[in-house]
Amino acid sequence: MSKGILYDATKCIGCKQCEQACASENGLPYDDKIAAQEVTSAHKYTAILTKDDKFMRKLCMHCEDPACASVCPVGALKKTALGPVTYDKSKCMGCRYCMAACPFGVPKYEWEKAIPGVRKCIMCSKRVAAGKQTACAEACPVGATIFGDRDALLEEGKKRVHDNPGAYLQHIFGESEVGGTSVLLLSSIGFSNFGFRTDLTERALPLYTYQVLSRIPDFIPLFGTMLGGIYWITHRRQAVAAAEAQENEEKGGAR
């Protein structure tokens, strides 16, 4: 069963316990200065965003069919069966196609390092594999971030939105964006207030490239045969012309 995270902004009190837990789980620095940064970066995998008195969490969405994993030429990024999208630096060659392809701008790079890698939330994949919940969900004192089976969380989200239409925006971010994501977000105000794109396609992004890539194995023998055929015909014509010329010459000589 694929795991997921449900974040309910209406419950969030903006205490940033999730940020701190994330930093200590991943060995990242954390202090008041970093806490004040409302952006994710190579040293901050999740951030609490504020808009007036409302909050929102930014983290890797862990797409069901992630663009980053599909574009990675060496498979350094992978969607695991359990849900997390993980990263293996030992495979990475640093092409940064994942960063260009991610519709949420999640993967960050260690630009200042001579031996850099991609950094992003990996949904505490080791904890999840061990049957535990993510550090952020465990740390949340008010249950704004909860961890569980994605299907169950989606049902829970739908129920909350349905039961209390006044308190919620009628949209679960991640239910269908780019084919659905393992992280689901609930909010009382529009997601665009926090810089989220609300015009994302509902089609899984890898399908856009796959519809071209999948044709290449068929294309190669067809195009190769065509080129070989053209070569054969254009050069054959010439050989025939040469043979005829020679024949004519011989006839002429005999006369």
Binding site: P73, W111, T209, L213
Partner: protein
């Protein structure tokens, strides 16, 4: 290094200055990292080195496969005398692209990873294989030139007997590679501006590569005649100019149809940041060269052809930079301009390209027939020489 006989000319001085600056920037890049040497950021993971060095580098190398296909596969013999310089350009272009990739990749020593860690769902994986295989094929297509220079008849015979296989492979790989650079961007339907994001991206990249291949050949031949005192094969260039008209027209019509069907024609007339760059691109790449080449007087003259070709090249360079940079700026709410170190490295690769081409043209039989027929007479179509790689023995026609 370019001055075997130390004649200190202006261009050699420029070259040495660029190389010195380039070597300095190389140190910054590899000892202090991408952050210190580029203006790349989490918003702009790809910049000038991908947009120009790689995307334009590959595009400008397209003359190799375009001309090889015309001469070796379609058997259009009158283009034969200009095939070798295009193969040299392509080979050089791909070597420089590989070198530039070593600068851009964060972990360049892992560049071999796609060989063993395969993800066939990645366009970058396809790109990686095309670069590797086509560079190898280009080395083989280029090898007869070196073998001839050292008069190694036996390997020459062997390589010529199998050359047709490599020619077909080369055209196939080029077709895939040129188009795949467009396919790379298909994963960004919500990021790349609609001027450039189209389901037809691979087709546009392929068609523009052919245009650039033709324009680059005209440019190259004109430059060679100017700087190496070669006779200008004007009748051949006129033919190339005519083919260029047709390909540009196809590209332009397809662009119009694509815009029409995606309903974004009105965007072309709505002022915006992207609109200015798009108008510049389409004007330089298609409208102006096409307009010029449709005038017989311009099409027939050496200067006219040269000018149209150069404008066309600038236009398609603008196109690649628009796809790589301009087209994503709005989506990531930022602007990117390369740092001086990025520009210097790029200038170094361009300078190296010119210098190595010059050296190769000087010491290798790149223009072989010319030497054989000194004092050079204008070649006409009737003047048929053996096929470049001479697979079957041709009797002229």
């Amino acid at each position: 290094m370019t001055v075997p006989r130390m004649r200190f000319t202006f261009w050699k001085a420029v070259f040495l200055v660029i190389m010195a600056a380039g070597i300095y920037c190389t140190f910054i890049r590899f000892f202090r990292g991408l952050g210190a040497s580029t203006n790349l950021s989490d918003q702009f993971p790809w910049g000038l080195w991908i947009g120009f060095d790689v995307m334009c580098g590959v595009m400008l190398a397209a003359g190799g496969f375009t001309l090889t296909a015309a001469v070796e596969i379609f058997n259009i013999k009158r283009f034969h005398s200009i095939v070798r310089p295009t193969i040299l350009t392509a080979f050089l272009g791909y070597l420089l692209v590989c070198a530039a990739l070593m600068y851009d990749l964060g972990l360049p020593w892992n560049i071999w990873h796609p060989l063993v860690m395969r993800n066939p769902h990645s366009v970058m994986f396809e790109v990686a294989y095309c670069v590797m295989l086509y560079t190898t094929v280009l080395a083989l297509e280029f090898s007869p030139i070196v073998l001839e220079h050292f008069n190694l008849q036996k390997p020459l015979k062997i390589i010529r007997s199998v050359m047709v296989v490599f020619v077909i492979l080369g055209v196939l790989l080029s077709t895939l590679h040129q188009s795949s650079l467009g396919t790379l961007y298909l994963i960004m339907p919500n990021k790349l501006h609609p001027f450039w994001y189209s389901p037809l991206l691979p087709v546009f990249f392929f068609l523009s590569a052919i245009s650039v291949g033709l324009a680059m050949t005209i440019f190259e031949s004109s430059m060679s005649s100017k700087y190496f005192g070669r006779e200008l094969e004007l009748p051949i260039l006129r033919d190339l100019g005519r083919v260029l008209v047709v390909v540009l027209a196809l590209y332009g019509i397809l662009k119009f149809e694509d815009f029409y069907h995606r309903g974004i024609l009105r965007l072309v007339f709505t002022p915006s940041y992207e609109q200015r760059f798009f108008l510049l691109e389409i004007f330089l790449s298609v409208l102006l060269p096409l307009g010029m080449l449709l005038v017989p007087k311009i099409r027939e003259s050496a200067q006219g052809l040269y000018l149209a070709a150069v404008i066309c090249l600038l236009g398609f360079v603008t196109n690649r930079l628009n796809v790589a940079i301009t087209g994503v700026e709005s989506a990531v709410h930022g602007r990117y301009a390369p740092k001086w170190t990025e520009t210097t490295i790029t200038a170094m690769f361009v300078a190296l390209g010119f210098a190595i081409f010059g050296l190769a043209a000087k010491y290798l039989p790149i223009f072989p027939e010319e030497k054989a027929h000194l004092p050079a007479l204008r070649k006409t179509e009737a003047h048929v020489v053996d096929s470049e790689f001479a697979v079957p023995a041709h009797a002229g026609d």
